[in-house]
Symmetry: C2
Subunit: 699 residues, 2 copies
Amino acid sequence: MVLTLEGKDDALLPDFPKGPLQPYRARASFSWKELLLFLEGEEMLRFKRTIFSALENDPLFAQHRGADLPLEKYRELTFLRCKRVFEYDFLSAEDMLQTPLKILAIIHCLGMYDWSLATKYFLHTLVFSSSIYNLGTDRHFMYIPKIFNMEIFGCFALTELSHGSNTKGIQTTAHYDPSSEEFIIHSPDFKASKFWVGNMGKTATHAVVYAQLHTPGGQCHGLHAFVVQIRDPKTLLPMPGVMVGDIGRKLGQNGLDNGFAMFHKVRIPRRDLLNRTGDVTPEGTYVTPFKDDRRRFGASLGSLSFGRVSIMGMSIINLKLALCITIRFSATRRQFGPTDADEIPILEYQMQQWRLLPYLAATYALDHFYKSLFLDLTEFQRGLQTQDRSARQAELGREIHALSSAGKPLASWMVQRGIQECREACGGHGYLAVNRLGELRDDNDPNCTYEGDNNVLLQQTSNYLLGLLDDRTRDGARFESPLKTVDFLEGYPGILSQRFTCPSVGDGWDTTVSLEAYRWLVCYLLQESARELSRQRSLGSSDFDARNNSQVYHCRSLALAFMEFTVAQRFHDTHSPSVPPSLRGVLGRLSALYVLWSLHSHLASLYQGGDASRKEFSLPCKKALGSLLMQLKGDAVALVDVLAPPDFVLDAPIGRADGELYRNLWAAVLQESKVLERASWWPEFSAKKPVVGSLKPKL
Amino acid sequence: MVLTLEGKDDALLPDFPKGPLQPYRARASFSWKELLLFLEGEEMLRFKRTIFSALENDPLFAQHRGADLPLEKYRELTFLRCKRVFEYDFLSAEDMLQTPLKILAIIHCLGMYDWSLATKYFLHTLVFSSSIYNLGTDRHFMYIPKIFNMEIFGCFALTELSHGSNTKGIQTTAHYDPSSEEFIIHSPDFKASKFWVGNMGKTATHAVVYAQLHTPGGQCHGLHAFVVQIRDPKTLLPMPGVMVGDIGRKLGQNGLDNGFAMFHKVRIPRRDLLNRTGDVTPEGTYVTPFKDDRRRFGASLGSLSFGRVSIMGMSIINLKLALCITIRFSATRRQFGPTDADEIPILEYQMQQWRLLPYLAATYALDHFYKSLFLDLTEFQRGLQTQDRSARQAELGREIHALSSAGKPLASWMVQRGIQECREACGGHGYLAVNRLGELRDDNDPNCTYEGDNNVLLQQTSNYLLGLLDDRTRDGARFESPLKTVDFLEGYPGILSQRFTCPSVGDGWDTTVSLEAYRWLVCYLLQESARELSRQRSLGSSDFDARNNSQVYHCRSLALAFMEFTVAQRFHDTHSPSVPPSLRGVLGRLSALYVLWSLHSHLASLYQGGDASRKEFSLPCKKALGSLLMQLKGDAVALVDVLAPPDFVLDAPIGRADGELYRNLWAAVLQESKVLERASWWPEFSAKKPVVGSLKPKL
């Protein structure tokens, strides 16, 4: 479908103000409005604009986001804003079902404004509610309307002070007492306190609590989830037996109240066990549709997949914002030039292009990827709801798990590095808080950690691939998966023996060449990882040790390379007939840059395993990179115009759409409190002079 | 000199408390006390302990460092602490001359406690005073005692809102008026306001201001430095014509008041031109001992070298602290294990070792390097004071400039990445502000930017090396330098044609092999950079363009590889006869790990340019890395015990010396304000319920 711009009202796609960015905008090879419409569609665009306008016109959102407020003030403000979002009720349940991407869109719009707000809202309305919905049964659905009218406020309590990644080690217990038909929730000691739980610090009234379920007679049935009331909604005071508090200041997202809770023999009714995967009869007998405890456990944690895909999106949003700020800055900041009198924008330097434009390409590629993976996930979730027990559904679950387990690390790390590069690329001005790059970096950081530590998660993906290889080696099973991301591996012996054919050094580089090299790389790393594992085992290592000692340089690289390739391939695949001719050029160049840049980081592996002549590869690869940077330089400003929220939301003086870098920055600095005022403590300098050496210690 | 432990009092080297870290401490291959004494010497150790004890026993330092205080409070506290440091007067002028490393030591001790304090003190007592001392003449020395009794307070004002890296583009003017024998300091517009100046925001009374000097008749003589009074020391109110203020919150170091100043025709006496490199006669004639304006400019900026070496040290301090926290955490945090019941410390995982131990090795290597470079620099400064005009002195200046210009980027980036790795390696607990990793990251960040943007600075080093190559090609000049860091390049044609001989895959790897590979690498990158430059020129590029387009993949890599090699070589060189036999093992392993790990990041270049068989290199290299990690794992805790300041200064619950990770963290969380208290705004939840959809916007 080719979209045209005719008839689009100015409110939907307003022109940018004239100013110093104009020369770059005029040089763009495409229309930013056309690309934006093509990527988002009119309906989604209108939806986002509605949210942004509501925030911009509401005085509650008109002040600073809050990072420099005292902790309690910031949390109050975030809570009030969260409540206000309920009053706006941007998204109806029908809308949600019809256009699931709107669920992400609302989180991302709020997140662009402030992640504390978005996370607070997300944890309550999505994580808490979907845990109840997915892990519970009919008897729990009465909680759902209470969530959506804020009668109660929820949180998701899995990790403990001494256990995070190793969820099976969780120590909170739930003993069933048939005499009263209650569970007794208990923390054996402070190390078993639930810890890091978002919304738990000050606001949550209810928690989904994971605990080891024990039935009378002492049998432990493993981790189960329970709904536990932790505060009285009428007073926000803790329930008897619950010690609940705030874990304090974090590196970022300080509007969100992360908390802890210790339970001292807290009794809850039997019905508050979320019993989809296992239940206890009134008499105290444990019943489950799963034969295998590990399978039951896996199913009960399945709802974390949604979190990982969401985090990919949250990360990408952060990089979008950082790049808008930094590329607009780079196009207007002038420093040095061919002559002393003639300074040029720093975006003209190859170094600056090399630092920033690959991240811009990666943003477009990963933005496309997480959205498409989210749609795959909603298909999978529909299967869950309809009790689809087909092999395809099971395979789809495994594949999505593998993709989200490497996708989150890939995205969150890339964004972490990208924001840091942006911070540095803006020099000193990037270090000024008002320009927001620090806040973005701090708010993005937990994406590397929560919903699974990145390095730990990557093992899920390499295990998936190595498992497929095992199946093939042992049983001759084909490499194939519902989303076809592993199908190419079927040709792996042939791919590995392929000679790499290097393109001629022209001004172009066919992306299919890069993708072919990537296929080879993934096959090579798969083979090397399998070899390393069996080498470790042949040395007498246990399976535990063999796996641990094969991560560095092997399984870890395999998971990342597989993921980069999958992202690149999906981005490349979409750029054929469906793309309007006027956009093919720029999207093709972004795709080429992303795959080439990612591939370039694996150069050593390509040399090490391949038999292609070495110099044959590196030189054309670097030239092609240089040429792509040069070509994309003129499009860079228009490409961030596509990504940019309104100035009110972006909220960085050096990144405003008018490009008036210094005027905006100067104005922002002068608007801060007491800028020109003498410090209140001035007599400490002027009157109370130190007596030098008066306290000199004896050395 | 072999130091023994006999007779050292417990106060100087107290034992660590018993606790969960004991098993690792018992496994160490060396005595941490012996290594600490060997590295620091007793006098320095005593000096540092004195400073730490003074801070620990002084109530003014007993509270939080301040990052969570309101901006004005934190700045007041930092100022009061700075004043208190004057009262302690830790370092006399004689001490300073006798043991110049004590100058760095005091900054680093204060910095370990809080960088805002250290920077505030450093900018006033060292940067401001040494600018006056180095750029001025006798007539300015009357300022020096006023600095050291805090009668005045100083700052160094070079950068402007629109000019940082390109200092020559600075727009502040100083017109000489012979009628009154005054200079008129003026900012033509707000973009020329001095900006980012530390201490200027609230406290400085005087500034060293860089401005374009104009004499009557309109001639401009380029950038010169002036002492300008900006505030009245009696009232801290701005002087007439000076608009001075605070630039606001930054990502870190918020106890330091960075500021801006605009000058409206501010008149200062003629004598306040810092006239070492150029002067104006009372009648208005410009006189200078330098014939070439560029040389004069270079000499006037020479004092920045001291800053760069100091920044290397500051960066390393940050990584020391981060590693102490993270390695102690890793040795006490248990997660997963061979069986569900038996969890092992995460330091036992190869992945965790691979993430952290190379940074530990790099810390030791770079710590040694910056100290030795600082001593080289003091030798050079002595030459400046004694008016040494020898060729050696000039060459020494160029060499130190090249080393500090790449040393600062190498150190600050390595530390930036290292702290980030530490933050992630501590998982969620690393994201909790109380554990300090965020503050360290934020406080370290400006090291990548100030005293020269890292990427811009690296060009100084590659230009130096390429210049030497030019001299050799054109004039047959030998590669040699006073500190001998470039002498090996004399053999470059031979080195380049050397075949790389791979060591056998044993449990060891001779560091000389790695160093030889590095020598080859530097020669190769030098050759490739020169080729790329001439290729660019042959395509018709101007010198400006040719240089800019040769940075990525060429000159930049050259500068970094040269620097890594120089650091590794110096660290390796010191570990021979002077090292006590009991310490040789561990220092040798640190040296081996640093060089191998650094080299490994250049694997692609080694393959690309070398003719050594590819697989011959990679496999033994990875095996040697794995083996070194395994060997150093048991020493890791003792190695951070050597680096760790007292708990009071380290101030991170998860990194305390007793290793009681959870007890310390739990205690710290419970001690924060209002942890268990209901939020003051609780009725906002309980009473004022939102009416969902009441504000629903029309889509």
